[in-house]
Symmetry: C2
Subunit: 413 residues, 2 copies
């Protein structure tokens, strides 16, 4: 099955927004085993939309349109499909009743121009949109399919996942199941290398994606039923887990901070941090998790050496080893744990750049975590990166060390 | 002049990357007054690239290609242009010498397949690329122009700005000058409303862009010389500054945190913060500025009420007014200023959500700043937003208040 994407909206051609819908759909099509050959962006101009649709109709089996389903004169997706197929738009009484009910619930009188959002053509069925006013269109004619969806990403994602993909299953040869395994502590090329032959598998497939906070391994299987697809994924997941062992910290939408939070909550334990080079980003990342106040006591951003001393790091130690040293990281962990009365104390110090510090190069990072029974230590990325990346990578390394400490897969030193 | 963009790369059609190059070019074309009618993404397939080029050649004056200039067999931009125009690629001795010199500098033997990066066709001139190995092509024939640039954003941006735009000036009727005025404390629609008639101006133009940390007003003028373009921008800037007065905090790449940092550095003064709902994001944002250790002493992330008390907020006050109150924000500012010995102390407290706190709704945020001569106070966004947005907007409001306090455009209370 050959697919192409047509994104409608003058705001795209003015550069006011980026077409992230196309990226999302492209990823999903790849997972479904549907070939995508072309993506086009066209402004809100009926002539140019119809021209692009005509070409797509001749060369593709599946045309996925986003945008142009709103109520205004500039929203021309329905009109363009009608013109392409020579079919007339007519108000569908069921869709009209739904639309009026939706406005009724909001106690708003429906503007009459909205009525076009309740229209269909003979070849179109509607795709429901419980999170917006515009239903989508599923158009089938002469062996071609057009799926028209809203341009608002939130509405489009839902419609694609819930309404479109199930209807596509006769064409993709089965149901699709995907699981993401999240890897920390290894770069993308190292992950790919360790996956070895698995990367060339066709069902399930395994693909790697470098994300901001981890490397994702996405396992996708296709089978006649969901159970069979899940089983195929589970088999490969087992193989991948044997390869990466403790590098896998979670699945799907989990993050290092959500996993750490879950572990602390389960045990009823608390956490406090003292950080310097990350300047507050460690505490901020931990508190990105809703409900983190249950286990996160607080943080100290000891950006000056004086503040480290003031908060309990011995001055002799700072003088002897410098602010950037393993000894200082240990003392920071101990000091903040004691000062704020937490079960775990984290100390994080290093050189964010752009300049070196105490003769230590940018990227030197020391991490220490003191718990009820001892201390674990670690190092940061160790290479020269931009200031932002240095902060981000150091936070990741710290949360990963904490996760492994809580899981008991790393030794105290 | 009618333009279209052609982005080449199979990684786009697999959804591995998003075509942000197209967004960047679309914005730039809009500012240059060049109409953009189509954007297409095509994989690394010569047949499909040539097919798309042929269509573009018939309907557009200017075709901007990105991607496909690498040394591998999958990089087909040059081959496709040659096929389109029926011209033969030949190694250019000057480009070859440059390329070999570049590899020589890195002490790497040039792989022989790289030689195609030193080729031209009779209608093409090269566009230099000092930050990569692939020079671009500027192709002019029969009243059409093709600009082929690398897909790596950093290389493309530079080539577009430095090499392509100056060559386009005969077609855009002059030189372009742009200045961004950064607005804080107002939403995008309020900014647009206050700009009034200015938004319909044609030279210079004024357009608004909602960014993560501010609303940008981008003023762009076109004139025969840079001096004249700058003068046109300066005139409109004066009008816009009269409208927004203290809402404008900076220009171009400045941020609230860089402006605050500059002000503190100039006076040799220091800053310390105590934050709760933002969980460390305020300190992290302040320390995103290189050199911030010169004025930022440190921060306290007092995520628990106990820690607030421990760090110097009177317990009676916390009991009487609650952790989320103006009184507590003031006490936090005072406490951290005193504890860390800074010239300015910031207190920030509120409800990040998802749940209310002390009967106060999500979005309740109190800010206080104590300086050498008194205190200023402010409030956060005040509406219910996602947890992330709540943190981000509260940090923005705090930095803006601090900026205005340092500039002396807000009264102590």
């Amino acid at each position: 099955m050959r697919a192409e994407i047509l994104s409608c909206g003058t705001e795209l051609l003015l550069g006011h927004i980026t077409d992230t819908n196309a990226t999302y759909l492209a990823q999903s099509l790849a997972a479904l085993g549907i070939d995508l050959y072309f993506v086009s962006q066209v402004g809100d101009n009926q002539g140019r939309i119809v021209e692009t649709l005509q070409r797509a109709w001749t060369r593709s089996d599946l045309i996925i349109m986003t945008g142009g389903l709103g109520p205004t004169e500039d929203d021309l997706a329905r009109e363009s499909i009608s013109a392409l197929l020579g079919e007339k738009m007519q108000v569908d009484p069921v869709l009209e009743a739904d639309l009026r009910a939706m406005f009724g619930k909001l106690s708003i009188t429906m503007p009459e121009r909205n009525i076009k959002q309740a229209t269909l053509i003979p070849s179109a069925r509607s795709l429901s949109n419980p999170v917006g006013t515009a239903p989508g269109w599923w158009v089938e004619k002469d062996g071609h399919i057009i799926i028209a969806m809203p341009g608002v990403p939130r509405e489009m994602y839902r419609m694609w996942e819930q309404e479109a993909i199930p209807r596509l299953s006769p064409y993709t040869g089965g149901l699709i199941f995907t699981r993401i395994l999240r890897v920390s502590g290894l770069g993308e090329s190292a992950v790919e290398e360790r996956l070895g032959e698995l990367i060339h598998h066709t069902n399930p497939t395994a693909a790697t994606y470098a994300k901001n906070d981890a490397v994702d391994v996405r396992v996708t299987a296709k089978a006649p039923t969901r159970e069979e697809a899940e089983m195929l994924v589970a088999e490969m997941e087992e193989q991948i887990r044997r390869i990466f062992v403790h590098h896998i910290f979670g699945v799907d939408r989990e993050t290092l901070q959500s996993v750490v939070g879950k572990l602390l909550k389960e045990r009823g334990q608390t956490l406090a941090v003292m950080e310097s080079l990350t300047g507050g980003l460690l505490a901020s990342t931990i508190t990105d998790v809703a409900g983190s106040s249950a286990y996160f006591v607080g943080g100290l951003v000891s950006y000056s050496t004086e503040m480290k001393a003031q908060m309990g790091v011995p001055r002799e130690l700072l003088e002897q080893h410098g602010a950037v040293s393993e000894q200082t990281a240990r003392a920071m962990a101990q000091a903040v744990r004691k000062l704020l009365g937490a079960d775990y104390g984290v100390g994080l110090t290093g050189v964010a750049g752009p300049d070196q510090q105490e003769g230590k190069p940018v990227g030197t990072v020391y991490i220490a975590i003191e718990g009820p029974t001892g201390v674990v230590t670690g190092k940061g990325p160790g290479w020269r990166a931009s200031r932002d990346d240095q902060k981000r990578l150091s936070v990741q390394a710290t949360l990963n060390l904490l996760r492994r400490y809580l899981e008991g897969t790393i030794k105290e030193s």
